[in-house]
Homo-oligomer: 209 residues x 4
DNA sequence: GATGAATGAGCTTTCATTCAT
DNA sequence: GATGAATGAAAGCTCATTCAT
C-alpha cells in the first residue's frame, strides 16, 4: 500500500543518507557487488532501516539510479537551451555535460553498469527523459536549417547527432582505458581541450565549403 | 586460437570449455554476479574442476578477460594495416571493429564492466596491447603527414585520434540506451551507415579547404 | 563465570551457548576436525550466528580456549594459596588441580592439543597467567626457606618445581595410555592415592636426613 | 586381498617416502589437519600413489603411527635393560628416552595427539609393547627387592613407577608451555640437568633413612 | 523509526578419493 | 607403478532479509 516513491516522510533524513551512500556503493560495486551491510554502516544506520525504507536491495538500486539520473539530466538539460549559434549551443552542452561528470563521478560508473546489464525500466525512463528534452531536437533542427540554407553539407542528422554524443561522452566512458593508453594525467585540462576539439571537428565536418 | 597464457596443455579441452562458458557468464553478470556453479553446469564439468584449472573465481575472471581481449584485439589490429589512403584505412578499421563486435557481442559488455570496475592488471595489459599496435601510431602519422603537406588543417592529433575512437566505439557502448532513444531496430543497417558517416564527418572535419 | 573478554553483552546467552558447545567440539576433535555445523546444531543456533559473534572458526577456537584456560586457572590458582606447611600446600594444589580436571575433562584434551599445535598467542597468555600466579613463586620460596633452615637438601628449585608439576599433571595427560598399560579402572581412586604418593615422594625426596 | 602391512614390495622406495613425509605431516597437523595433497607434493609422488599403497588417509595414519611407535619404543626399550644399580638403570632409561625425543621430535607431537584423540587400536598396541617390555617390570622388581632388603621405604610401586614416568616424559610433553613460563631456552642443557634431578629426587624419595 | 540478533539459502572453496590412460 | 584429470560431498563463510523489542 506504498506509493511510487516517497510515502514515508523521512523527517530524520535517514532515507536520504541511505540513498546517498547507496549511490557510491552501487557505482563502485554494481548491483550484485554492493553490500547492504556496507551501505548501512557507511550511512550510519541500521541494516533493517534500509528494508524499512526500500523493500529490497533491488528496489533500493532502482530508486537510487532513477533519482540520480533524473537529477543529473535535469541539470544537464536545463542549461543546454542557451546559445544561439550552433557552436555556442554545442559548447554549452558539452560544458554542462562535463560539469555534471565532474560533480558526480558516480554518474559514469552507474551508466556503464546500466549499459552492461540493462534494466528495462531504468533505461526506458532515461530514454524518455532524453528524448523528451530539447537537446536532440534542437541539434537536428539547427542542422536541418543549416542544410536548407546551404551552410551545411547534406548529411544524415541522426548520424551527426550520434557523432556529437559519442564524441562528447565517449572519453568519459573510456577514460580508465584511454588514460592508460595515452598517459593522460590531467583530466580536467584534457577535457577543456577536448570540448573545443569536438566543436571544431564537428563544425568543419558539417560545413559546406 | 589459444593464447600463450595457456601453460597447461589442456588436452581434454576442459580448460577451454570453462573459459568459453565463463566468458558469457561474466559478460552477462559481471564478476560479482557470476556464479561458479552456473559456469560449471553450463560447461558440463564438475565445479571443483574450475578450481583445479583456475584457483579462484577472480583468477578465472582475469584469465577469461585477458585471453579474450588479446584475441579480440589481435583480430582487430591484424587487419587494420590495410588501406593506403586515410579513408580506406579508417573504413577498414571500422569494419573489423564492427565485425569483432558482431562476432563476440560479449566483448562490449566485458569492456563496459572493466571500465566501471577497472582492474589494474587487465587494463594495463589492454592499454599495452593497443599502444603497441600500429593503429594509433598510423593514424597520427598520416594526419601529421597530411598536415605537413597542407592537405589537412592544423589540429591536435591526439584529440583527433580520440574523436575517431569515441565515434567508432561509442555507439556500441551506448547501444542499449541509444536504441531506445532513437528507436534503432536494425543495428546492422545502422552500423553500416554509421561507418561511412564517421569517415565522412572526420575527413571533412580535418580537410583543409 | 564470564571473563572480561566479552565485550558484547550477550543478553540472549547465544554467545555463551556457542562457546560452551564449541569447547566440547574442539576438545573432542581439535581445531581442524571440529565442524562449525555440528557446533551450531548442538548449540541450537543458526550456523551464521557463529560467524556473527566470532568471525571465523579459528577466532572462535581462540576465544574458547582463552576463556576456558583463564577460567580453569583462575579456579586452580585461587585456591592454592591455602596451606601453611609445604605438604598442606602441595596437597591443596593437587586437589584443586584434580578437581578442575574432574569438573572439566575437556581441559586436558584441549591442553594436549595446544601442546601439539602450539598457538603463540594462547600459550603466551597461559604462560603469563601461570607465571603471574602465586603458585610457582610460593613453592620456590618455601623450598629456599627450607634449604636455608637446613630442613631441605640443597637442590635446584626449578627442577623441583618441574618435578612437582609433571608428577601432578603427568598422569592426567597420559591417562589414556597409562590406564591401558596398568589396567587402571577407577581413575578417582587412583588419583586419590596418587596425590598422597606425590607429596610423600617429593617431601622425602627433598628432606635432609 | 591385501595382508596386514607390506604386501606391496616397494622396490622404488615410494612407500617409504610417503611414510616418512606423512609422519611429519601428521605430527604437525594431526589426522584431521593433514592434507593428502601436501604429503604427495612433499614426498614427490602422485596423490593417487598414496591410495595405491594405503587405502585411505586414515589407514595411512595408522600405518605411519604404528611403524613409528614400534621403531621408537624398540630403540628405547632395547637399551634400558642395562645398568645394575637402580640409579644406573634409571639414568640409562632417561637417556635413551631423551635421545629418542631428540632424534625424532615428531614422536612427542604424535603422542600428544594420540592422547587427545585416542585410537583404540594404536594405543592398545602401544600399551602391549610397553607392558611386554622389561622396563616397568624391572623397576617394580628392583623396588620390591629394595624394600624387602630394607633399603627402600615401603611405598606403592605402581605410584612410584608412575612418578618416574611422568617426571621423565612430562617435561617433553609440556615443553611448549614450560619453556614459555620459565624462559627455558637451551632445551638440551635443561634436559641434561633434568635427568640427574629426577634420579636424585626419586632415589632420595624412596630411600629409607 | 530504530536496533541487535537471528535465519535460510546459497556462495566460494576444499578435500579425500577415484578413474582413464 | 605412475600420472593428470575428474568427482561428490561437504566445509567454511556470506548475505539479503526478517523478527522481536
Amino acid at each position: 500500500m506504498r506509493t511510487e516513491q516517497t510515502s514515508i516522510p523521512d523527517e530524520t533524513g535517514t532515507r536520504q543518507k541511505i540513498i546517498d551512500t547507496a549511490r557510491s556503493e552501487f557505482a563502485e560495486h554494481g548491483l550484485a557487488g554492493a553490500r547492504v551491510e556496507r551501505i548501512a554502516k557507511t550511512a550510519g544506520v541500521n541494516k533493517a532501516m534500509i528494508y524499512y525504507h526500500f523493500h529490497s536491495k533491488e528496489y533500493l538500486y532502482e530508486s537510487v539510479v532513477k533519482e540520480f539520473f533524473q537529477e543529473i539530466f535535469r541539470q544537464i538539460l536545463a542549461r543546454t537551451s542557451e546559445g544561439k549559434t550552433l557552436d555556442q549551443f554545442l559548447l554549452a552542452a558539452l560544458e554542462t555535460h562535463i560539469h555534471a561528470y565532474q560533480t558526480s563521478p558516480e554518474f559514469v560508473k552507474i551508466l556503464l553498469r546500466e549499459l552492461a546489464s540493462p534494466n528495462e525500466s531504468l533505461l526506458n525512463d532515461l530514454a524518455t527523459t532524453i528524448r523528451g528534452s530539447q537537446f536532440p531536437a534542437t541539434v537536428v533542427a539547427r542542422l536541418q536549417q543549416g542544410m536548407a540554407e546551404g551552410e551545411y553539407r547534406k548529411i544524415d542528422p541522426q548520424q551527426a547527432m550520434m557523432s556529437i554524443i559519442t564524441m562528447s561522452i565517449g572519453y568519459l566512458l573510456l577514460a580508465p582505458l584511454a588514460d592508460r593508453i595515452w598517459g593522460i594525467e590531467d583530466r580536467t585540462a584534457f577535457l577543456d581541450k577536448r570540448k573545443h576539439a569536438i566543436v571544431d571537428l564537428f563544425l568543419h565536418g558539417v560545413m559546406a565549403r
